[in-house]
Symmetry: C2
Subunit: 396 residues, 2 copies
């Protein structure tokens, strides 16, 4: 029996596991210190009332024979897919119901979608980026090439005709840099993909933070995207579903290569390796899109936006350069005093008991950068900002 | 961009999709007829009261900032893994907490586990069997060899030394045949795997139906299994979680090949491509193992066992040969009058409006066989049995 040898090419630790490991070690050595976490992109506000109500009702349905639900459709219940379709309409995108697949989160589908592609493809991944894109392709043994996202291009790399790539990852608003593509910029990527016959895997997990109308909420706002793109989205950030687990993937029915429908391949994959998302969770997710649900959720998003502003103002005061914080829950900063990413991580952990995420965990171009998130509670964010100010002002 | 060409080697339709498709076509042509479904292995009893209570409490926790849960551990919450560990103790199996991974269902993990194995392995799959084992390996391009499960061996094939296999699937109690291995028989498989350096993927999804003490509930009841086996189990059948989605996978920490821990590889896979099971669902699953939960669940299992008995008695009366029905929710019968599987499917659908599952959908050796399940409601089971009796008695 042979194991998948590609796993040995992965780094020892998954980034966030390493971060929480170091924090745990610090905590056990200093049990009296209170660690403030602005590292992993986890939310802190509870679920919206409408979601809670819907889930209680769904639990009750599961308690009675007449309303009990067994196996659901592999692609998700019609009621939820209908709501997602209507949500897309609010930013001008028309989808078919069959384009939409409900999932247990964007992360699962971003990894699992690779099942439908040959391992003999070249993958273009921006650097820095969410580690899952590269790691899942390393596991499958695909050739990966990186495109540089750096200060020069505002962390928004554009296509280069000389680069040949079969599968292209785009995350906008970006994790970790907070940078977001305009519709015009995305149009260039769509044209590039269509001209090369490539597929764009578009991670829209942070679309709900986009306020600026010139920026894209969905790649399908761009003409031509339906013949080259698959979009992944999640309820994690819009509605605090990080521990409730729901997302969706949009594969246009018209997306095909050599006469083979990618939508049908994905349905085959899901019906073979997946059994759908809990009914209770799908009912909760549906409530996100109700009028009241949306109003409650916008309040939560505004709360996180205010956190981002607090962090940004702190960095302004310290004259630290950063991107993001607007149209994004992430603040991507240049480590002060020429420090490396993990060096700054340890510096903040030891000196201020604040945990962030080292930029270099997201790629070579992340070296010397650091990610903070706006998903903490207001109190934690304010306290963290205070401690960072004190630490850095005293070290100057 | 190249698609995964292996998908073209799959049959057009996933078995259960084809079954429901034919049933739907019949229904739309005969809108006045009431179809009775004893086909797919879906449960019909609602969730147990203790599970419902636990889920309501968990929903409430998600509504308050102090008790809200975001991302959980990739491998599942400690409280649930502890309960599973204690459950295994009741049939004499000692596990470490780290051996246990909570999943969204056995089907997902049975497919996804293949990520950690090279595509260059030979896979041994019993025929007939749950289609997911073969389909997931066809998708990856692995070489598959089949071992015959038939009337001669009581649908329980035993290892043959001349057959070299790297990955071995065993499902006991078996889907679709209802046959279950004794501990002595499993010991032969474990010895075979250990001597060949193979891995057994053991599907224990129906273990809760085992009443006979000589039969295995877990492969880890057999000495030597921890160095060659991975076990998959599910809350779907024990607790009616088909639409609630929870399962678990046991990979002993000591299971390794060439010094590489399969347990660690799986954790790496899960932390990269999965984000855990909903907190609410894990709380519901925990309640299954409470004293009251277990008592309620045993009542449900007895209800299904009684259904199996009703079906078995009907077949006895009609002098139709079958296996299963004891220690299993499945009844695997030989199609009467020399009919083929799909022929009998259409015969029952047209003549009695009863939907079962054609045996040949599970493999070559399933030709001429048919699967009925005990998961229907009592009323549906009784009515279906009556219709089958009438149809077959009138045709004699």
């Amino acid at each position: 029996m042979k194991l998948n040898g590609n796993y040995s090419k992965l780094f020892e630790n998954y980034l966030f596991a390493e971060v929480s490991d170091r924090a745990a070690k610090y905590q056990s050595a200093h049990p009296d210190k209170k660690i403030l976490r602005l590292g992993i992109g986890d939310v802190t506000l509870p679920l919206a009332d409408e979601v809670i109500k819907a889930m209680h009702l769904a639990v009750d349905e599961m308690s009675k024979k007449e309303s009990f639900r067994g196996y659901g459709p592999y692609e998700g219940y019609g009621f939820l897919r209908e709501s997602i379709k209507n949500y897309y309409k609010t930013f001008g995108v028309e989808l078919n119901l069959n384009d939409i697949f409900v999932s247990d989160g964007a992360k699962s589908d971003l990894g699992n979608i690779l099942d439908i592609f040959s391992n003999d493809n070249t993958v273009l991944v921006p650097d820095p980026v969410y580690p899952v894109y590269a790691d899942t392709n390393i596991m499958a043994g695909r050739k990966i090439i990186f495109t540089n996202a750096n200060e020069e291009n505002g962390f928004l790399p554009m296509p280069e005709k000389v680069v040949k790539a079969d599968i292209i990852y785009i995350c906008s608003p970006n994790n970790p840099t907070g940078a977001a593509y305009s519709k015009e910029q995305l149009k260039e990527w769509v044209n590039y993909a269509n001209s090369q016959g490539s597929i764009i895997l578009y991670d829209a997990a942070y679309e709900c933070f986009v306020k600026d109308d010139s920026l894209a909420r969905s790649i399908f706002e761009v003409e031509g995207a339906k013949s080259c793109a698959i979009e992944f989205c999640s309820f994690s950030k819009i509605a605090g579903f990080t521990g409730t687990r729901c997302g969706y993937t949009v594969i246009p029915e018209e997306l095909e290569k050599g006469g083979i429908s990618l939508n049908k391949m994905w349905l085959r994959r899901q019906s073979t390796k997946f059994n759908g998302v809990p009914y209770i969770v799908q009912k909760g997710a549906e409530a996100v899109f109700s009028e009241r649900g949306m109003a409650q959720i916008q309040q939560n998003l505004d709360y996180y936006r205010q956190n981002a502003k607090i962090i940004a103002e702190c960095l302004d005061g310290l004259k630290i350069r950063y991107t993001g914080g607007k149209n994004s829950p992430y603040i991507w900063l240049k480590c002060p005093m020429g420090m490396g990413s993990w060096e700054f991580f340890d510096y903040l952990l030891n000196g201020a008991q604040v945990v962030g995420t080292p930029g270099e965990g997201f790629g070579e171009n992340g070296k010397g950068f650091f990610r903070l998130t706006a998903f903490g509670s207001r109190e934690v964010t304010q306290e963290a900002v205070l401690r960072i100010k004190n630490l850095l002002n005293n070290s100057n």
